[in-house]
């Protein structure tokens, strides 16, 4: 039995979850931790703190500003990111099936379905609270509500309306302040000035590191692996506000070899990627395609000011390219395509995603008017049952030919 099969078997028979909740396993693994990469060490600390309840646990949605979570001394447990991780280990299907058996329709976003499957199979740590934003999708609000109901813990929801005008920002700031105060009361812990300084300071350093990576992405040929950038999306949003943030992104930057091999095509990626084992990135590499950026790892926010934490976090929330009318998203893509000297765009249309997939045709037409070819690739980010690789490969080949 190989290691992957062993872990899969442990996950399926429930013994892996006993290991995750055992202090001994963390003591044992910590012996080998020093030689591991920062992302492994970060994941280790996150799992240990959450499963052993060393800190209060907050289930978080992808775009929830984790700076607030860290300032409160909590550990974020990002369910959509965990779903991607489980999928990348080739273990998504049993959890997806569990959710479907419990009436979660196959038409719902598979990140959320998989998260629900994990919750229903008791694979998640017990949270203290559930924190989510309405951005970017409606499914997120209901998924996190249903999770909070299952675990019988409070759900704090920040509604993010409109475009980020003054009235919208004030509305979000008010909700952030109210949420912060309610969390402080619940946890019996007040955020001190120094907590904000640490949390927002780390986030600012992470931001600086990201900007350096963006510069590298514009190089011709592009030395940054697009697959790695898409793989790091979850990490970027989970470690913002933690001391791990700058360290992780700095390690990523240092791992980039500046002398990249030559490239035949430069493409910009929209939405997320398939996380389960799939041949797509090996195929793109073979054809000399560089993914010179993607929307999500290129989500950049203004510098955060510890003197105005909630206003800063509101600005970070409103830096999201997907808010407001689709024109905002199109403008952002066009800017990034030009900056990165990309020849075209691949829009990975995640089947259950209404907010992104829903705008795919409008987006394609708008990009065409700007002279930017766009390929819509229908698929699913975490459910491997939706992969039709032969069809996908044919479509990619056809697209590369027109470039």
């Amino acid at each position: 039995m190989n290691l992957g099969n062993f872990v899969q078997a442990k996950l399926q028979d429930g013994s892996a979850i006993r290991l995750l909740r055992s202090p001994w396993i963390y003591r044992f693994l910590s012996l080998f931790l020093r030689s591991q990469s920062p992302s492994v060490r970060f994941s280790f600390h996150l799992a240990r703190d959450a499963y052993l309840k060393r800190k209060p646990v907050a289930f978080t949605s992808l775009f929830f500003p984790t700076e607030l979570v860290y300032a409160l001394g909590m550990v974020p447990f990002p369910l959509e990111v965990i779903a991607a991780l489980i999928s990348s280990m080739g273990m998504a299907v049993p959890f997806l099936k569990k959710a479907e058996e419990e009436w979660y329709s196959q038409d719902l976003c598979s990140f959320h379905r998989l998260g629900m499957g994990l919750a229903l199979q008791d694979y998640l740590p017990q949270p203290d609270v559930v924190l989510s934003l309405t951005s970017l999708c409606d499914g997120s609000h209901r998924f996190f509500y249903n999770v909070s109901r299952l675990f019988k813990v409070p759900h704090f929801l920040i509604e993010v309306p409109g475009n980020g005008g003054k009235k919208d920002q004030e509305y979000v700031v008010r909700q952030l302040k109210r949420t912060r105060m309610e969390l402080e009361a619940l946890l019996e812990r007040k955020i001190k000035k120094s907590d904000w300084e640490d949390s927002l300071g780390y986030s600012n350093s992470l931001r600086e590191e990201l900007l350096k990576i963006y510069e590298l992405q514009a190089h011709v040929p592009c030395p940054v692996s697009g697959e790695a950038a898409l793989g790091n999306v979850g990490l970027i949003f989970t470690c913002a506000g933690s001391r791990w943030g700058p360290e992780l992104i700095s390690a990523w930057r240092k791992s980039i070899r500046e002398n990249a091999s030559s490239e035949n095509y430069r493409l910009f990626w929209l939405h997320l990627r398939p996380y389960y084992p799939a041949p797509i990135f090996a195929f793109l590499k073979e054809r000399g395609v560089s993914i010179v950026g993607d929307e999500l790892s290129n989500y950049i926010w203004p510098r955060l000011d510890p003197k105005n934490p909630e206003l800063s976090l509101s600005s970070k929330i409103y830096a999201n390219f997907g808010l407001g009318p689709i024109k905002n998203r199109i403008d952002n893509i066009v800017r990034l395509v030009r900056e990165r000297k990309a020849q075209g765009v691949v829009n990975f249309s995640h089947r259950g995603c209404r907010q992104s997939t829903g705008g795919a045709f409008l987006l394609k037409e708008a990009l065409k008017e700007k002279g930017i070819p766009c390929l819509i690739l229908d698929g699913d980010c975490v459910d491997p049952r939706e992969l039709n690789w032969e069809q996908m490969r044919t479509r990619i080949e056809g697209f590369l030919e027109i470039l």
Partner: protein
């Protein structure tokens, strides 16, 4: 009078009416959507796609007033704006009444939009006049509602009454009272605009004694007061205080309200009609399933997809559910 086409019963119709627009709810039409397919993919809410298809077929000058209830509607708004620039308004809808002040300001933004379209401002009392008209129509609807709860209105008559209530170009005619001894059912779902479905209810001699449709019974529960001050204040408060739908925040209130209605009306079964790709309702489904099963209330889930005609199995499945009772 130009039409103001709307999508969601959280949208206060008093405002377009005050500006002399004719509020008409865009109903879902069963069939293919070749024009909408250019803009919206198939895995988007079939009501939103139908809305777009109907809009692209229209010849008259209308405005589109959309509450941003979901991702599908936001993309629908993008597509409409593409085709009808300057004629589309997307109203941000907070998810609980705690945020009514923000909603009031959104209504002010809507007022500004309508004012700009008409090239005129509202005169004193125009909103109050419109409020009075809407209140009268709702009062008439409540009278029917009381009869409907007793099972005294045939399904098709109720369907036509709902269509008329939501289309201000139609007068509200008195509804026929037709006692029947058929099974009592409660409808849960978003929108159910296909007349053929209601014909099946009729053939099965069902009595619809309650519903939680977007534009149904809940509308009768909006009660807008009058204010000497800002007329938008009572509008914002009353619309956000009505029983919540699945996209809102106060969901515990929603489930207890639903359960109370279902139990009080001693139904023989519950028909759940989620519209295909409606995420909010599909997240309700597991919770509703548990709630109904725990109490031994028979139910059946019948997906509503405007791109397909209602299947014959709809009849069979309802019959099977009722046999369980």
């Amino acid at each position: 009078m130009s039409k103001a086409l709307w999508n969601c019963s959280y949208l206060p119709l008093e405002l377009p009416l005050a500006f002399e627009f004719m509020p008409v709810r865009m109903t879902g039409k069963t069939g293919t959507t070749p024009r909408a397919d250019r803009f919206l993919p198939v895995n988007l809410c079939s009501y939103a796609r139908s809305f777009l298809e109907e809009s692209l077929l229209m010849k008259d000058e209308s405005v589109f007033l959309l509450a941003d209830c979901c991702d599908s509607v936001r993309r629908l708004a993008d597509a409409l704006e593409h085709e009808f620039p300057g004629k589309v308004f997307l109203l941000f809808l907070p998810r609980s009444q705690d945020n009514w002040e923000f909603f009031r300001e959104e209504l002010r933004r809507l007022q500004g939009f309508l004012s700009q379209l008409k090239g005129t401002s509202l005169k004193d009392g125009q909103i109050l006049e419109a409020t009075e008209i809407v209140a009268q129509r709702r009062e008439r609807f409540r009278e029917w509602e009381a009869l409907k709860r007793e099972g005294l209105i045939r399904p098709l008559d109720y369907f036509h009454a709902l269509q008329a209530l939501n289309d201000f170009s139609q007068d509200l005619e008195p509804v026929k009272v037709s006692p029947s001894g058929g099974a009592k059912v409660f409808l849960l779902g978003t929108n159910l605009d296909d007349e053929e479905v209601w014909e099946i209810f009729e053939e099965l001699e069902l009595r619809i004694v309650g519903d939680d449709l977007c534009y149904g019974e809940k509308q009768g529960e909006i009660s807008c007061g009058f204010s000497r001050g800002d007329p938008l204040e009572p509008l914002a408060l009353s619309y956000l205080s009505r029983p919540p739908c699945p996209r809102m925040r106060n969901l515990e209130e929603r489930f207890s309200d639903l359960l109370q209605k279902i139990e009080e009306r001693k139904v023989d079964g519950v028909l759940l009609f989620p519209t295909k790709y409606c995420d909010s309702f599909f997240y309700d489904l597991p919770l509703l399933h548990d709630m109904l099963r725990e109490r031994g209330i028979p139910f059946v889930v019948l997906e509503q997809d405007y791109s397909q005609r209602p299947a014959e199995q709809l009849r069979t499945r309802i019959e099977a559910m009722l046999e369980k009772k």
